[in-house]
Structure formats: C-alpha cells, structure tokens
Symmetry: C2
Subunit: 313 residues, 2 copies
C-alpha cells in the first residue's frame, strides 16, 4: 500500500493508509512491502482482471452510501473472476480521492473489505492518491484449474442465466428520472453479488462457456456468441425477472453481475439443487446454434426465431 509521492503530505497519507488497514484488520494481508506476495495452488492458472468505478460515470454520490460504492466496485471486479469460474485469491484497491471525499475514505474501504470478505479473500495491496475525481480501481486475482471462457459455447448447448434480471436497469431508470426506485430494484443496483460459488458449481456441473452480465443480457450474449463463433437463440419470456420489469427491460439491464452460461445439452443440470444451495433461480433461456449473421436471435411469441436483438436496444 503506497501513496502519491509529490503532495498530500507523507504524514496525512500514511495516516489514511494506516486507518484503512485498521478498518480491514486481518482481512488485509501482505501489506507493507513494495508488493504483496501470494501462494498459488500448484497446477492452477492465475486469473486476473481490473475494473474501475468513477464518480459521475458509474455512480452518483447521492445514490448510495460510500460503503456501498466500495462494495459495488469490488463486486464488479470479483464478478469477472466468477465469469471464469475462478476462486478468488486477493483484491488490490487503488483509490483516487478528492478532498470532498476524505471523510468517507474509511467507509469506502469498509465496503471493499466487506465484499472481499464475502468472497472469502484478503485485500493484498493498494494505492492511495489524491485527485479531483473519486475513482476506485479494483484488481482481482484468482485461480482456476479449468477457467471458463467466452469462446467455449458449441452448437447444441443450452443457455442458462442465474438470478432474476432487471433490477439494476429499473433502479437506474428511476434514479435518472429523479424518481424513487422500488426497494427491490434499488437493492439489486446498490448491492449486487458476484456469483463466485455459483460459477464454480456450474463449472463442476459441466458448463463450458460463461460471461457475466455487465452490459446487459443481450449485449453480453452477443459477446459470448461472437467469441464462440455461434448464434444464441434466446426466449426472453422465459427469463426470471424482477417484479415490474418487462422481458425486454430485463434483457437490457446492465450491471447485473449475474452469469450467462452455455452447457452441453446432454448434461442434466440439477436446477433444484442450485436453487436450494444458492437461493436464486437458474433458468434455461435458450440454445446455441451454428453462426448466422446475427449473434443473438430472439424467440418471438410462439417460439419462432423472429429477429435479432438490436431493435430492442
């Protein structure tokens, strides 16, 4: 954990870092050297991703607490590990903090610490610097013996999605219109959950491609389809979705951090066990086909493959 070299004043900066380390307690490890060291399980691949949350771009201060901002930023990054079915090893936090956020620094740190603890991994490093705009850049490290990739889907596979979609999109629409979001929608927007254990369950069950839903189901389905060289046929009406949300809204709601999975058709997925274990739905929403011009086709009423998804956007 180190700080900016020019200004801010060593004392104040080190004090802030010390306070953050105290906030994290035993959840912060390996801090104090120029870099942190971690043991890697032998034979596993190292899985890494980095993600930034910027005030005014990814959130507004009046929308949620500082602690929620920290937790949500960490979740967005941890979700990338989930998409690879990787087990988390550690989190690094780089903070750019303006003067007006100084009093919220510990709450931001607390949120990151809670998200890391929920993911069962320590905070292994970080950086603190001043700036004019609050940003949190979170880097996550994990390991996987057989990482799931976007490119793994094959014609004939079934397509599954975790959870109930539409909450974040509905909450964001309300907030941007200065309306009060439904509590359930807001909770999904403010406190999303990285589906880490769910991903490992799905990988163990036989899943062979995955992506997390950050841009919206349809957009991320298109990413997965293009990476795999296939076309996905999705029945949006079958989507599990939040109350008060249309299928089209659910399919275009971003920052869900749910998972989209391709599973060989001959795998018998124990959906009931998944639901009992994780308390969220696992829904078969379609199938994988040889590539046509459209990456994603949407089943119209009655089941025909009517059209691509672009007109929904």
């Amino acid at each position: 954990m180190s700080g900016a070299h020019l200004p801010l004043g060593d004392g104040r900066e080190f004090d802030a870092i010390r306070a953050m380390l105290e906030e994290w307690g035993p959840r912060a490890t390996g801090v104090g050297d120029d870099a942190a060291t971690l043991e890697m399980p032998s034979g596993a691949e190292l899985v890494v991703s980095t993600d930034a949350s910027v005030e005014g771009v990814h959130f507004r201060r009046e929308w949620m607490s500082a602690s929620a901002i920290g937790a949500r930023a960490a979740t967005a990054a941890l979700s990338d590990l989930a998409a690879m079915a990787a087990a988390p090893l550690g989190v690094l936090l780089s903070l750019v903090v303006p003067e007006r956020w100084q009093s919220d620094l510990l709450a931001l740190a607390r949120g990151v610490g809670v998200a890391a603890a929920n993911a069962g991994c320590p905070i292994v490093g970080g950086n603190l610097t001043r700036g004019s705009e609050l940003s949190l850049t979170i880097t996550v490290l994990g390991h996987a013996s057989s990482p799931l990739r976007r490119a793994g889907a094959r014609s004939g596979d079934r397509v599954y999605v975790t959870g109930r979609l539409g909450g974040p999109g509905a909450a964001l629409r309300a907030l941007l219109a200065s309306e009060t979001p439904a509590a359930a929608h807001l909770a999904r927007f403010i406190a999303p959950v990285p589906r880490l254990r769910e991903a490992q369950w799905l990988a163990a069950a036989g899943a062979r491609a995955a992506i997390d839903i950050s841009d919206g189901l349809l957009a991320d389905a298109a990413h997965l389809a293009r990476a795999s060289g296939v076309t996905l046929a999705l029945d949006l009406e079958s989507l599990s979705r939040m109350d008060g949300v249309t299928a089209a809204q659910a399919a275009t709601s971003g920052e869900e951090y749910e998972l989209l999975i391709a599973m060989p058709a001959d795998v018998s997925v124990d959906v009931g066990q998944f639901v009992r274990t994780f308390g969220i739905p696992l829904t078969d929403i379609g199938s994988v086909h040889p590539a046509v011009a459209e990456a994603v086709l949407i089943a119209a009423d009655g089941g025909g493959l009517a059209h691509g998804h672009d007109h929904l956007r």
Copy 2:
C-alpha cells in the same frame, strides 16, 4: 479489457479498446475474456502491486509526452516488482480518460506497451472508462522464488544503492519554478527505468532486503530500517549523483526508481561486473546497525554519525 457500462457508447469505447490492442499487437495477450489467465512457474510466489498516476498530482501534461506519461506510470509499478526481485509476468492497465485526452489515448497506451516490452512482459488486461481527470492505474504481476523484502536487513549488513541519484528531484524543482531543467535531469524524471534485472542480479548475489526509491533515498531508507527493526548509517557524500546536484538533494529526490539494498557484509559484491552488465553505478553508501531512536543516521564530514535525517527534509 472492458469499458464503462453506462455512457461513452459501446461503439466508441470498443473502438478505442480495439485501437489500443492493435497498438500493442502481440504484446497484449489473453485479452477478450472477462479476465486474463496466466501460467505461474511452479514453486514461485506470486508478487503483485498496483500504482496510480494522476494528472496534476504525479505529472502535468506540459511536462512530457503522452507516451512518456504511459511509460512512466508503468515504470513506477514495475519498480515495485524490482524491489521484490520478482520477474515480471504481466501488466494490467486501467485508464480513466477525459474527453480532452481522447486524441492521446493511443500514445498513452504505446508508452505503457513500450515499458512492458522493455520489462519483457505482456499486457494481460485492462479497463477503459471516461472521467474528468486522466489517471492510469497499473497493476503488475510477477513471480519470485525468494522475494526480497523491506524487513530483511540485519545489523552488520552493508547498504548499496543503484544508479546516480538526484535527477528527478532537480528536474521537478526546475519545472515547478518554470525553468528549463538540465537535459540529463529531465531524462531521469521523464524516462526512469525499473531496475528489474539489476534486482535479480543483486538477489542472486546475496542481497537480503530491498526497497525502491520512490519517496527519496532517506525516506525509503527509513521505511526499510523500520521494517527491519534496525538503524541505517549512511554516508551521503559517497552517493553517486547527477551533475549539479548536492548530496542532500540526491538523498531527498523522489521517483528515482533506483534500488536501496542491504547485503551481508561477508558477501563480496562484484561491483565491477554490475557496472559492466548494467551500465549504472552500484555504490556502498553505509551500514546497518542495531536500532536506535533514529531510523537513519547520516555520517557527517569525517565519518562520525552526527544526526538523523529529518533536518534535511
């Protein structure tokens, strides 16, 4: 490599990422999934660090080219791997880019790519988002079978420093005074070098503690001394330094990215071989002692240990 989810427009953002990937060519690997995967050498420890460079805090636009800003940000992070004597595995780049910097995006990326290539490692991931303030957060991954730590110095050790100090501090003083820095000073400020191979040479030679000089020799010597529970006695007059720089200036110049090393006294260091191999000095500047109240003592003219270093700051 992924982008901000709310605004900027998928198209433009993905175009920018594509352009960066083309700029990097084969130096960018594993990009395109939610996370990157890397092979770890078996038996080695994973070494990680993250560092941010923010406009107006760590640099000003008029001081250097966008490419130099990118390379310098990467160097600051890579230097943390050098301080641990780790071999680099990969670099992740998270960029927050304001509109006014859009046209410099590829030059920033090029600089990071050049620094990564010089360190012999690929760019394995990243993130791009808009914001009102330019920042580059670089996360570096490396491996080491026996990482050097700050806490390893022991009473009786000799203290060495790599390179010629004082350039960055002198350049910064000139720039802040709107004067023209000496070219040699400016080069050290704009284009510092992470001492990665030097660190591995020193570790192989027997070094048992190290820190990189980012806050200034005296401040970093104090960090190392406190971590090791010792006191360092340094003869600043023996420092290799840039022309036109006093010993005190050299000892307080930050962002050097040179290394401060503790070496057992019974190790015969082949300084000549170091100089021939790397083309920079390796200088014995003092010794390690049992801890007294001051973490660092400075040898006065004639060699006596006269005083702590705080009065120099």
